[in-house]
Assembly symmetry: C2
Homo-oligomer: 491 residues x 2
């Protein structure tokens, strides 16, 4: 087998970039910081979308669509938000091109200058809350539980495919509530939906918690996050949910009449996950041979490759395999019989390994005679020869086993990479030698947080929901602390 990829040990970052392009997931676009999501990558994203959308609907949400462009002035209305989002962004200033008077292609028509510039949405709180003002009069109009699947744009300086791109695809939920409690409960509910999706579908274990004040979403009173660990020991923020208080209602004059007849500002949340999840999926499980995909998100779950010496042999194998293909399809399993004669079996094996197809079946002429079939699993790179009888049920069960095994492996890795440390020296040393998550006492001040970040490049990922109360001393300042927080270097 040809060596396709730089190994993870050699250069993790290079391995990732090569894997993304060679497995046909995405490639850099001709537009600065943007990517083309290729068909195989998009097929995985579609599966993610489909499941998330179902989970949003099951929790009472509906989809809608709001404009791509946001008037510049909207951003000035919420002071924190403008600092966080409206600075590095794509600005539309004109609405017409014309032929260059000097004959050099087309140029911007200076007469078609917009009175007010538009910003390509980096996130949609402002345009949505400007819209909600007209949707909400009374408590009877609440809650509003909207989600939007959309593209957004942030003029990032350092980009990496899926992890950080100027344009990316995401969903953004924007909900409006009559009470503070209800809004907090909603933000809590949605971070738990994200955690469930990450663990059950992506097979990626995550730690849920609250962000520290300085890591919050710009405009939020509280941000909840799910934090995953990649194989290089760095954390990846995979989804966030925000309790926005009444900030956007106040910025956009969104009030409702409560049952007592009084006017009150509406309470808000927003929550989102993006194509960044693709980066998390890739980096959490894949190996030096290529992608490892959890069966639930694999566009192709099973591939069957015939190994034959003659046209007659192929014909007999095809006949035998076709009933297996039909039976697998009948169980809702996505299967492909790859009888292309343009590629050799070895090439196909390597290619499906690169693409992370969970189960590969191969049938040769001897298998035909023995009524057997070779079953290879991608996650463990092991194979065995099994009787044809019962193979469909075996494969069905195997897909479930692989889903679980991938999760268990990631969980075990992650758990081994959570280290409790009590001194700053120990923290700094292990951060460099071991990496991963650290549970540390912190005095709760932005100053200490900033010092840790400046000195080690590690950040407070979250204050875990399940972090127990525990008396301790801040590892940096020695000041009292009542629970440990999660710290790591992060993507």
């Amino acid at each position: 087998m040809a060596k396709f990829l730089t190994s993870r040990n050699e250069d993790y970052s290079q391995w990732y970039n090569e894997l993304v392009t060679k497995a046909g997931l995405a490639e850099p676009a001709a537009v600065r910081g943007c990517m083309v999501i290729k068909p195989y990558g998009y097929a995985i994203w579609e599966k993610m979308q489909h499941q998330l959308d179902q989970m949003f609907k099951d929790t009472g949400h509906v989809n809608a669509y709001f404009p791509l462009l946001i008037p510049k002035s909207f951003f000035s209305k919420e002071a924190d938000h403008v600092e966080g989002f409206a600075k590095e962004c794509a600005v539309v200033t004109h609405y017409r091109l014309k032929n260059d008077p000097n004959g050099k292609g087309i140029v911007v028509d200076p007469e078609a200058k917009l009175e007010e510039e538009y910003i390509i949405r980096p996130t949609s709180e402002t345009i949505i809350w400007n819209t909600y003002r007209n949707w909400i009069q009374s408590y009877r109009d609440l809650p509003i539980l909207c989600n939007q699947w959309a593209n957004v744009m942030r003029w990032e300086m350092r980009t990496r495919m899926f992890l950080r791109t100027a344009e990316f695809l995401w969903q953004e939920g924007h909900t409006a509530h009559a009470t503070k409690e209800e809004a907090i409960a909603e933000a809590n509910k949605m971070v738990r939906v994200y955690a469930e999706f990450a663990e059950k579908w992506m097979a990626v274990p995550v730690i849920m918690g609250s962000k520290s004040e300085s890591e919050r979403f710009a405009g939020a009173l509280d941000t909840y996050t799910i934090e995953a660990l990649m194989q290089d020991g760095k954390a990846l923020q995979a989804g966030t949910s925000h309790f926005l208080g009444q900030n956007f209602a106040k910025a956009f004059d969104v009030l409702f009449t409560n049952p007592a007849g009084e006017r009150e500002y509406v309470w808000a949340t927003s929550w989102g996950v993006s194509t960044r999840l693709m980066g998390a999926l890739i980096m959490a499980h894949s190996d030096d041979n290529g992608l490892v995909l959890p069966p639930k998100l694999a566009p192709l779950q099973v591939v069957i490759v015939p190994i034959y010496k003659s046209a007659e042999g192929l014909e007999q194998i095809t006949k035998q395999v076709s009933s297996i293909v039909e039976a697998l399809k009948a169980k809702g399993i996505t299967v492909k019989y790859d009888d292309r004669d343009t590629q050799k079996p070895g090439w196909k094996f390597a290619d499906y390994e690169l693409k992370g197809v969970p189960v590969r079946l191969a049938m040769g002429e001897r298998d035909l005679a023995n009524c057997t079939i070779e079953v290879a699993r991608r996650d463990t790179l092991t194979k065995e020869t099994l009787p044809l009888e019962g193979i469909v049920e075996y494969v069905e069960k195997l897909l479930n086993d692989i889903q679980e095994n991938i999760y268990r492996k990631a969980l075990s890795f992650r758990d081994n990479m959570i280290t409790k440390v009590d001194t700053y020296e120990e923290f700094k040393e292990l951060l460099e030698t071991k990496g991963g998550f650290f549970l540390c006492h912190w005095d709760g001040t932005p100053e200490t947080e900033e010092k840790i970040k400046a000195e080690t490049k590690a950040t407070i990922r979250c204050i875990p929901f399940d972090s127990p109360e525990e008396e301790g001393k801040c590892m940096v300042t020695g000041k009292p602390s009542h629970r440990r927080v999660l710290i790591a270097k992060a993507y």
Copy 2:
């Protein structure tokens, strides 16, 4: 019942706008020429998307995603295309805002001017063919059958919700082929997919045909279209498919090595439908009481309203209804039991009529005693009282009947509005008094086409695929013509 809407006879355009907003489909946005697609409208669009996506996949296509922004220079590469698309468009010139030195909000940072401006995609041929150049080396890499679901933007001057908006949602297929014949067959196949979708799902009959040269897509050698007729006698172009020849391959240097080892330019198609289909759906079927939705695209197919005098009555009705709800759901029918006590039954009836729910069931206390239920159908506005026994099967069949009836009604209307005319005088008179489609002889010249358009505002909608050969004389110039073309005023 309150009168919700201006009637169609009174003011068709006003009726449409009121219907779109009052039924909760869409509303104008704070961004010039853009709309907010509200949850109920988006739910219909999602059903359209879901079915179209399935049909694209069944015909061998895969989805991908290409960048929103297109470098300005890309548009200059295809001469016709730039004239058609790159003139009235949103131009991104800067990538940063900063605080106004005078303290008035935020302003564009003049130092963050892009070297080359970007255009928000009005259509993606250029960026996609620039990408395909790297995907295609040999005939083995062909065909490429990609589709993209995306937002696009055209700086339209006169906008109407769904029919023509600055930003709209659509899908754009972009395929690459080794031969001219294969590309033409693809373009043909896809316009037929659109026709099948329009007729079987939207219940909108359409006429398929080729566009005249001057009505073709900018950059196409041939454009195929489906043309629908609205209730006001105006045509609406509902979907197009383009045979692009080698124009984009030549503009972006996309060549492949054929089996004989020679380098050739790749052949292209593109095809798209948009949220404009929502406009067609609304205008084709709806009446003065509101939307009429074909059951296959109705987000809610059946609603059940209890009519009760006491809490005990409601309880008994609810008990009886719950088994019907479960049985309908088991058949895959979307059903809602609306037992809200905040609205009266009459209000609910009017609201569901406005929203076009195909079947409304109502159960009162007398029904409970008689083991009956009231069944109202939206398309005919008729109702009948039926025994409870067998009601689930009845409703299931009724939904199919309604789907067919809506189609037949639209077909009958459309067929009655196709007029063969042989003189220009007759054409002009009937165009004003009757409207609809006209089948006329035309001499095939752009000059005559332009004259008809200038004098009557009618355009050649298409040369229908099924228009038989027939010797005749152009109704304007008297020159010979060999088949009739379809002419109408259009949206």
